[in-house]
């Protein structure tokens, strides 16, 4: 095997900040290399530097020899002969890299027309072949479709088809599966692994997800704070990590995480219940009235759930399955069209009169740590707000109470006067949790709280939630698309699909013996930490 790409001392600086600090690696022909790191570690910048896609403000030094020629030094016309033709790149959000006004087939054909001698019918045939290679069913039909008509996974496949059009030697994939649902993620990863074998493609795969990288790659680079921490074959790095940070990264993966044990499932009467909930958005417009139809869109259909005191129930499903809508109906953000919510055995009305009293018992934590806090309120004021507004404690004690809450969720007191913009994602999420705890609620609903966080932070937040549950005897509803996380946190699990609950039961039973094929699919899609899983 010969070396295809030889990177030496690659550094990228933006003004005073160093984004990539002296990275060196080799890529053999036909090999695949994964670059893993948390957000801000410089992994994407490395990838983009190789393609010279960084803004002019970036100062790049070092060398990247591709087949003997330095990608970082060569003149632009020569580089353009290589970009797209011999090195292709796919991005995280296919939606923003496909032209919305161009049919899928034409977008793939564009590259062919630019970089090959093919013309006319030849191009049309090649486009259909490529769409078939990336497993888009009925290529002739989808080639005529526009990007908005495709699902996220299909778009990513179309983008891969475009990248493969010129039969490149090297594919750079920058977080290609991060924006996708677990099952779609798995199918795209399988596709990449297969393409690698069949087309003898070399690949650099950038991801924050060690499990995804392990599925596709042979070798691994671990980056942190713009430096290379560790490199080696995937199996070696995972089984015998050399560096402390790598060890931490691996230990944070839901597969390996050592968490305190989940509280025993209790047998008492349900604390919070939803019975026959049906939630619809929109509809009842004039046009709907005239047409005599219901209109709108049914987000949740006949959902029943019951959560016993001290228990944690997980709700899992792909995006659009209605799991967040269901949670929001429990805190009165949406009014169910039919069905009732019961708290402590009595019907509650989260949107009506008893709302304020009810919400003291049931609190919701949101997904995006930065968005859930008002950007113009300091940490201390955000946590104090419910205390003051609802007079949850005498005004004199607010300050002590805030400090106490901050300590419980592990925020250093020196951060009290910071604004959310000055905190990390994990810290913001802790503040949001502290604010919810200010109510001293009995039920805590966590809506995808770990999804936007890096693995190590995700592990810390999961641990925090378990600790709080144990200390305070909280009842929790934990919503996630990540079954790996659900399995580690929940006593029982509810699987949702297209607005309906398709399966529910104790976590162990559902995972070991899923009744539904769909649940099985979700379970199979959990990224596991062992090399060459695909």
């Amino acid at each position: 095997m010969s070396t295809l790409l030889e990177v030496r001392d690659l550094s990228v600086r933006f003004g005073q900040t160093t984004a990539v600090d002296g990275i060196s690696f080799d890529l053999e022909k036909g090999a695949s290399l994964g670059i893993v790191g948390e957000s801000g570690s410089g992994k994407s910048v490395t990838c983009r530097a190789l393609m010279r896609l960084l803004p002019p403000a970036a100062k790049i030094s070092g060398s990247a020899l591709y087949d003997g020629a330095d990608l970082l030094q060569m003149p632009l016309p020569q580089l353009n002969q290589i970009r797209g033709k011999r090195i292709a790149m796919i991005f995280q959000s296919p939606a923003s890299h496909l032209d919305p006004l161009m049919r899928i087939g034409d977008q793939v054909a564009e590259t062919l027309r630019k970089h090959t001698q093919m013309r006319g019918q030849e191009i049309r045939d090649e486009v259909l072949r490529l769409l078939d290679v990336v497993r888009i069913p009925d290529p002739a039909r989808w080639a005529r479709a526009y990007p908005h008509q495709l699902s996220g996974g299909m778009k990513q496949r179309a983008m891969i088809a475009g990248a493969l059009a010129c039969q490149p030697d090297l594919l750079l994939a920058d977080e290609p599966t991060t924006a996708l649902d677990a099952t779609v993620q798995k199918s795209v990863l399988d596709l990449l692994a297969q393409l690698r074998r069949e087309q003898n493609l070399s690949m650099i795969f950038v991801s924050h997800d060690l499990g995804a990288v392990a599925r596709v790659c042979d070798d691994l680079l671990v980056m942190r704070r713009s430096k290379l921490m560790e490199s080696g074959p995937v199996s070696r790095v995972i089984d015998a990590p050399q560096h402390d940070y790598t060890r931490k990264l691996i230990a944070s993966h839901p597969d390996r995480l050592t968490l305190r044990p989940v509280a025993e499932a209790s047998t008492g009467a349900p604390l919070i219940e939803g019975q026959g909930l049906r939630i619809r958005y929109g509809g009842r417009s004039l046009a709907d009235l005239i047409a005599g139809r219901e209109g709108g869109f049914v987000a949740v259909q006949n959902a029943d759930l019951a959560v016993r005191p001290g228990e944690t129930v997980g709700i899992v499903g792909e995006s659009g399955s209605g799991k967040s809508t269901l949670a929001r109906s429990l805190v009165g953000l949406v009014k169910p069209q039919r069905g009732t919510v019961c708290f402590d055995g009595t019907p509650a009305d989260p949107t009506g009169k008893g709302r304020v009293a009810y919400l003291r018992e049931v609190q919701l934590i949101y997904q995006h740590p930065y968005e859930a806090l008002s950007p113009r309120m300091t940490v201390a004021r955000a946590i104090a707000e419910p205390l003051r507004r609802h007079r949850l404690c005498p005004p004199r004690e607010v300050k002590d109470k805030v400090a106490d809450l901050m300590e419980q969720v592990g925020i250093p007191t020196k951060l009290a006067d910071r604004y959310p913009g000055q905190l990390s994602g994990g810290e913001c999420q802790r503040v949001a949790i502290a604010r919810a705890l200010a109510f001293d609620p009995k039920v805590l609903i966590a809506d995808e709280v770990t999804s936007a966080l890096d693995v190590t932070l995700q592990a810390q937040v999961m641990d925090l939630l378990l600790k709080l549950q144990k200390d305070r005897g909280l009842t929790m509803i934990f919503i996630s698309h990540d079954l790996g996380v659900i399995r580690r946190l929940c006593n029982s699990v509810i699987v949702m699909r297209q607005g309906q609950i398709v399966e529910s039961g104790p976590t162990g039973a559902v995972f070991d013996n899923p009744r539904e094929a769909y649940t099985r699919q979700l379970i199979d899609a959990i990224p596991h930490l062992h090399a060459g899983a695909a």
């Binding site: 953000l333 919400l359 949101y366 997904q367 008002s374």
Partner: protein, 262 residues
């Protein structure tokens, strides 16, 4: 640039505050011995057709200009923000009604509308303020509504609702502060606009009435002598440009600063 803008506006503020100290003559004193005098040591900016000192009148004019500019935007700002935030946050029929009102106002050129209202109500600065309140709120309402539409779906507003806070409180403490940035920028350009239109009304004889030391009025008075005594109209014009550029630069600077903060 922002600093230049702030400096310009500050200087005008000082001039307005210290007008009696800075003025060399009484701005209203008629002096038939010094009619249409060119700028010189005695009269720095010259004198007009009844011998009033142009420099002193420009200095006193700063008071009127700032008074009109700063007071004229208050009513549109308050009315516009209230309507816009409420419409955007609650949506539904409130929004429909408010936006149809906006639609009625938008097709007419702003100045034409203000002018016709003043024409109906009669000349005078109070009527100008009333006209501004009736028409000027539209710009603020549209901006505030756009911000509120986005904010009402943001997680921190949802979080405030799940914390059981009332809509009024959420609007005041969460939506309002976070919607301010584009509105403040617009406010700065609006101040300029209100000063200019105020002067334009003075020029047309429908705003502040003569013999007041108001820049628009002064320009109108100098109009007849523009070929022989250019200074009567030139200096108030220059003053208007300088104050306008000052507010505009502040607006630009704020826009840039607030964008980075986001």
């Amino acid at each position: 640039m922002f600093v230049i803008g702030v400096a310009l506006v500050l200087i005008w503020g000082l001039i307005a505050a210290a007008a009696p100290l800075l003025a060399t003559h009484d701005p209203y004193a008629i002096d038939f011995a010094a009619i249409l005098k060119a700028p010189g040591a005695e009269h720095w900016f010259g004198t007009d057709n009844v011998g009033r000192d142009t420099y002193s009148r420009v200095v006193y004019g700063a008071r009127l200009a700032l008074y009109i500019g700063l007071l004229g935007v208050v009513a549109p700002l308050v009315i516009g923000m209230t309507i816009g935030l409420v419409a955007g946050y609650f949506g539904g029929w409130v929004d429909t009604v408010a936006m149809r009102l906006v639609d009625i106002t938008v097709p007419f050129p702003f100045f034409v509308l203000v002018l016709s209202i003043v024409a109906v109500l009669g000349p005078g600065i109070e009527n100008y303020f009333i006209a501004l309140a009736l028409v000027g709120w539209v710009g603020y309402a549209r901006l505030a509504r756009a911000e509120a539409l986005v904010l009402r779906q943001s997680e921190f507003v949802l979080a405030a609702r799940t914390m059981g806070f009332s809509h009024g409180y959420i609007l005041l403490r969460h939506v309002l502060p976070n919607s301010l940035s584009p509105i403040v920028v617009y406010l700065m350009t609006d101040v300029t606009l209100v000063i200019l239109f105020g002067a334009a009304l003075g020029f047309l004889g429908m705003g502040v009435s003569p013999p007041a030391a108001e820049w628009g009025v002064m320009i109108a008075e100098g109009q007849t002598y523009i070929s022989t005594a250019w200074w009567i109209s030139f200096f108030p014009g220059l003053a208007m440009v300088l104050i306008g550029v000052g507010f505009a630069l502040i607006g630009d600077g704020l826009a840039r600063m607030l964008r980075i903060e986001r």
